[in-house]
C-alpha cells in the first residue's frame, strides 16, 4: 500500500507544480514534459543496442505531419497528433531497410545521414514544408471543458495537464512493452543476436519493431510540441537537440526505465533554474558538455545508479534486523 500512496503523492505534486511557478517556468515545464516522452522513447531503441542520431528528426517528422494534416486537410488536432506518430513510425520502417544493413557505429553515422536528408528535404521543398522558415500558424489544440476544469490552451498550465496525460499514457505503454516478453526479446537481440536467432527470433524484424515504436512515440512528442509552439522549422530539430537527448540518456543512465527521464528532468532543472539564475543560460552547450564528461568519469552508470544504491541501502537496513534472531 505505501507504494500506492507514493504514487498518489507524486500525482498530487505534479498537478500542483505549475501553480508555484512563473509563466516562463510553466512554459519550460511543458517542454520538459514533451522531452520526457522523447527521451523515454529513445530508451526503447537503445534496448536493442542501437543508438540513432535521427531520433530528433523523426520527432520533427511527427511535428510536420501533424501540422500539415491540420493545415491542409483540416484534421481535428488530437487525431492529427496520433497520425503524426503513425507517420513517424512508417518513415522509420522505410528508413530501417537501408539502416539495418548496418550495426553499431555504422548505424549511428547512417542514421545521422538519414536524418540530415529528411531535414534537407524540408528546407528544399517550400511546398508543402515551407522551406527554411518552416510552417507558421499551426492550429492550436481546441479548447474544451471536462466539467470541473476548463482547458484554455493559451495557458501553459492547461497544455501541461493535457500533454502530461498523453505523455503518462505513452510512458505506460512503453513500460508495458519493456516488461513484456517482447521487451525481453529486445534485450536478447542486444546482448547476443546469434543466440537469439538460434532461438527462432527474427532479429531484423525485432530491430525494426523497436525502431518503429520508438519513432512513433517520438512523433507524438513532436506533434505535442508543434501544436503548442504554433511554428516549426527544420532548425528546431537539428543535431543540437539530438546531442541534448544523448546527454540526458547518458547522464541519466539507460539501464533502467526511469534513468533517461531522471537525466532529462535533472539537467533541465539545472539548466533552467540554476543557470538562468546565474545568467549563464547561453553557456548551456558548454555546461552540458562538462556534465557529460564528468558523469562518464565519475558516474559511469548514470544518475540511476545513485537511486539504485539508495533503494538497496534501505533494503539492506531493514534486512539485518531480522538476522540476529538466528
Amino acid at each position: 500500500m505505501p507504494k500506492f500512496l507514493i504514487w498518489v503523492a507524486v500525482l498530487a505534486a505534479l498537478i500542483a507544480l505549475p501553480h508555484g511557478l512563473s509563466f516562463s517556468q510553466q512554459e519550460i515545464l511543458v517542454f520538459l514534459t514533451i522531452n520526457v516522452l522523447l527521451v523515454a522513447s529513445y530508451r526503447l531503441l537503445t534496448l536493442t543496442g542501437e543508438w540513432s542520431l535521427a531520433h530528433v528528426v523523426i520527432m520533427g517528422v511527427g511535428a510536420y505531419s501533424s501540422a500539415l494534416l491540420t493545415k491542409k486537410l483540416g484534421v481535428y488536432v488530437p487525431v492529427s497528433m496520433l497520425l503524426g506518430g503513425v507517420v513517424a513510425a512508417l518513415i522509420a520502417v522505410l528508413l530501417s531497410f537501408p539502416l539495418f544493413r548496418m550495426k553499431g557505429f555504422y548505424f549511428l553515422i547512417g542514421s545521422f545521414a538519414a536524418g540530415e536528408i529528411i531535414r534537407l528535404l524540408w528546407k528544399r521543398f517550400r511546398d508543402p514544408f515551407g522551406g527554411a522558415k518552416g510552417i507558421k500558424g499551426i492550429d492550436p489544440m481546441p479548447d474544451f471543458s471536462i466539467g470541473f476544469y476548463q482547458f484554455d490552451f493559451f495557458e501553459p498550465t492547461s497544455y501541461y495537464y493535457f500533454a502530461g496525460v498523453i505523455v503518462a499514457f505513452c510512458l505506460w505503454i512503453l513500460w508495458r512493452i519493456e516488461k513484456s516478453p517482447v521487451g525481453l526479446t529486445f534485450h536478447a537481440v542486444h546482448w547476443q543476436d546469434k543466440l537469439a536467432q538460434a532461438s527462432g527470433v527474427n532479429v531484423r524484424a525485432y530491430r525494426t519493431l523497436a525502431f518503429a515504436i520508438a519513432s512513433g512515440f517520438a512523433g507524438i512528442s513532436g506533434a505535442l510540441l508543434a501544436h503548442y509552439v504554433g511554428t516549426i522549422n527544420p532548425n528546431a530539430f537539428d543535431i543540437d537537440l539530438m546531442v541534448f537527448v544523448l546527454t540526458w540518456a547518458i547522464v541519466g543512465g539507460t539501464a533502467t526505465f526511469y534513468g533517461p527521464i531522471l537525466g532529462c528532468v535533472v539537467l533541465t532543472v539545472l539548466n533552467e533554474i540554476v543557470l538562468r539564475e546565474l545568467g549563464l543560460e547561453q553557456m548551456r552547450p558548454l555546461v552540458y558538455g562538462a556534465i557529460m564528461i564528468l558523469s562518464i568519469l565519475f558516474l559511469p552508470n548514470g544518475l540511476e545508479s545513485i537511486v539504485q544504491k539508495l533503494t538497496k541501502r534501505r533494503a539492506a537496513k531493514s534486512a539485518p534486523e531480522r538476522s540476529p534472531a538466528e
Binding site: 517482447v182 525481453l184 536478447a188 546469434k194 532461438s199 527462432g200 527470433v201 532479429v203
Partner: protein
Amino acid sequence: MTDFLEVKDLTMRFGGLTAVDSLSFKVAHGSIHGLIGPNGAGKTTTFNMISGFYKPTEGQVLLRGEDISGLQMHEVARRGVVRTFQHSTLFAELTVLENALVGTHMPFRPNIFAAIIGWDREDRSGAEARAKEALEFFGLDHVMQERVGDLSHGHQRALGMAVAYASHPDVILLDEPFTGMNPEETRQMMDLMERLKADGITILIVEHDMQAIMGLCDTITCMSFGKFLAEGGPQEIRNHPAVIEAYLGGARHVA
C-alpha cells in the same frame, strides 16, 4: 528409422579454400549422430551450414525432404532445428530464468498488442512453466534467479542446452558440448543427452572428445580435410584404418 535430416553434396568454399567438399550423410530420426574429424576437417563449417549460419556454396540440407539450406538461422530454428554454440554464448547480463525464457520464443510467440493490454497472461505463464521445466531438466532450477555471468562454466554449458531444449526442438545441434568439462561433468552431460534421446529428440554432435562420443553415439560420421571419410557405429569407427590414419597420422610412415 526413417531419413530425417539429410546432407547432400554439401560444399563450402571460402575464396580458394574448399572447407567442405561434397559431403553427404543421413541422420536417422531419434538417434544420436556424431560428426568427428581432426582439427580443420570442416566439422564446424558443416554445422554452421546446417544451422543456417552459413549459406552453402553448393549442395542441400534436407529436413523431412524439404531443402532448408540457405535459409536464415531463425527460419531453420522455426522448422525445429536448434543449435547451441561452442563457447558459452549466452545472455550474460540476464538471469538464468530470462535466458531460458528467450528459448521459449518459438512455442510462445510474444504479441506486442496483447502484451500492452495484458491479454497474454496464459502465454506468459506457459512460457515460464516451460522455461522452468527446461531448467529443471538440466539441474539448473536452484540458480534460476542468478545472473548468467556469475555461473560456473559447467552450469553455463548446461544452460546453453537448456535454452535450446526450451524451444521444443526436433533436432538439437550441439557444437562441442564437452569442451572444458571434467570427466564427472561429461558423464552427467552424457546422461542428459540419453534422456533427450528418450524424449524423441534427434541429436547431432560435433565433438573432439573421442571418449564421450564413442560411448554416446549410435552412428558416427568421420570427415577429414573437408571430405567424407567413414561412417558407422562406434566400434566400426574405432577400428577403421582410415580414421586411425587421419587422427594419428600416416601409419605407413611410422612403420
